[in-house]
């Protein structure tokens, strides 16, 4: 049953591009990467680890005077992003029995888990703290947001690897559309910049090398792209019905028009062109949007040779091989923040539609000529009006999600 239209009335984020929406937008449109050397980390097997790390995070800014021992790092990030989104939606006090939370995370409490293992293994006789389980559990951020904001409706935590954030937003969109909840706080979070997570990704041989300048390491759609750069952060959206947004006089940033999700049901790490094409088609069908009406795609665009090729070919097949289709990957600036990526990219897509400015793919100097001809944005932002934009996420495990946003 689809009876209700779904509006986005607030967005917020913390990432390597800073802890405010303004700092994010500035770096996004300028194509200024937040990728740095992680010289303080000793990473087994990596001489020069890099990452898109949050530069200025202060949990006391949104949780002043609070004891943080029981609040996981991911819950702190999620709360900081959610508070921004609520402020923008003019919903500082939520307290809704029919309001819910939907959070995507790939790694959950890996930071606390890893710290506990390290402490116990390095200090014989020591034992895990009682806060280990409540901070390491994957649903720590979703539970914390519900408790803090008194949201007593659906409370979901979705683990869909790199597509977790997009799935969390998509499922929340369907919950609001179906009438099951009036309002959903939806997004993604991850804090995976730990020695073992970095080393484990490195073992898969898909991390981009640091090179002489880490800011240039991630180069999606470029002929010389060499892989992904891990990041961290959180991003959240406020979803409510278009009707309730109008009634309370809220500003409508964008409408979520549709959502597609499916599984390749094949290789765990190599994307399947057929699965990606099918997911794009599902999203367009759900949004009742024609391919030619899509003007911008915020690509999954990890910067690995295979992802970018499969994705570009799928876009050309489903939306048409045309240079009028603007495409960019913002992972070059905010890194691949795992479960937060889809949500950060949703925020980027909404900002683009709203401000009529479409961000470039940073570090894209020579597009890969083997890829289909699309309107890869490079060198600087593109200013134009667009009606529909997609945000793509394709995860390890073969899980795909595509969100369709519409300009209000």
């Amino acid at each position: 049953m689809r009876t209700r239209r779904v509006a986005v009335t607030g967005i917020g984020q913390v990432s390597s591009l800073g802890s405010s929406l303004r700092s994010f937008a500035d770096a996004l449109f300028a194509g200024r990467p937040g990728v740095v050397r992680l010289s303080d980390l000793v990473v087994p097997g990596m001489a020069d680890p890099i990452g898109a790390r949050i530069p200025d995070f202060d949990p006391q800014r949104t949780l002043p005077g609070r004891t943080l021992a029981t609040v996981s790092r991911t819950a702190q990030y999620a709360h900081a992003a959610a508070v921004q989104a609520l402020g923008m939606a003019r919903l500082e006090r939520v307290d809704r029995p029919r309001g819910g939370v939907s959070v995507g995370t790939a790694f959950g409490g890996i930071l606390e888990t890893e710290e506990t293992y390290r402490s116990c293994l390095l200090n014989p006789g020591s034992r895990p703290k009682p806060t280990t389980i409540p901070t390491a559990m994957a649903n720590a951020p979703a539970s914390f947001l519900a408790s803090e904001l008194r949201l007593k409706g659906p409370n979901l935590t979705l683990a869909v690897a790199c597509a977790s954030g997009s799935h969390a937003i998509g499922e929340a969109f369907r919950i609001v559309r179906s009438g099951e909840a009036d309002l959903m706080l939806a997004g993604g979070v991850d804090a995976p910049l730990t020695p073992i997570v970095l080393a484990a990704w490195n073992a898969m041989r898909i991390l981009a090398p640091a090179g002489s300048n880490p800011a240039c390491a991630c180069r999606p759609f470029s002929a010389d792209r060499k892989g992904i750069v891990l990041g961290e952060g959180a991003a959240f959206l406020i979803l409510e019905t278009l009707e309730s947004a109008h009634e309370r006089g809220a500003s409508i940033l964008a409408e979520i028009a549709g959502y597609g999700r499916n599984a390749d049901a094949g290789d765990l790490t190599h994307p399947d062109p057929e699965g990606v094409r099918a997911c794009l088609a599902l999203a367009l069908e759900d949004a009742q949007t024609r391919p030619e009406d899509v003007h911008y795609v915020n690509a999954h665009g990890t910067g690995t040779p295979i992802n970018d090729r499969v994705e570009a070919e799928a876009l050309a097949a489903v939306l048409g091989a045309r240079e009028s289709l603007l495409v960019s990957s913002t992972k070059a600036v905010h890194g691949h923040a795992m479960g937060a990526s889809g949500a950060l990219e949703a925020v980027a897509t909404i900002l683009a539609l709203q401000e009529e400015r479409f961000p470039p793919t940073a570090n894209l100097h020579e597009p890969d000529l083997a890829l289909p001809r699309l309107g890869y944005i490079r060198g600087g932002e593109v200013r134009m009006k667009a009606d529909h934009a997609l945000s793509n996420s394709f995860a390890f495990g073969g899980n795909n999600a595509v969100l369709v946003f519409r300009r209000p």
Binding site: G65, R66, T67, A69, T70, K129, P130, T131, P134
Partner: protein, 85 residues
């Protein structure tokens, strides 16, 4: 309760709650100071580490005020080393 036990236990509770030690009076309910169920477990853990004692599960729920906590700590320390007393 000894001054030493009182000061050390008060310091642990105050640090956890992010409040000044002076605000943790001996008979104020720790719950009223904001100590929730998980916080209580964390404080008990820190007290065990600091005083080198093991607090039995059934005594954890009795840690409702600083005074009760100090009495329990001292009783457990006496039990742990009877020859010292």
């Amino acid at each position: 309760m000894t001054h030493e036990t009182f000061e050390r236990a008060r310091g642990i509770i105050a640090r956890y709650l992010n409040v000044s030690p002076e605000s943790v009076g001996p008979d104020i309910a720790l719950a009223d100071l904001g100590l929730d169920s998980l916080g209580a477990l964390e404080v008990v853990f820190e007290i065990e580490e600091a005083f080198h004692i093991s607090i039995p599960d059934e005594r954890v729920a009795q840690f409702t005020t600083l005074r009760v906590a100090c009495d329990a700590i001292e009783a457990l320390r006496r039990d742990a080393s009877p020859s010292a007393s």
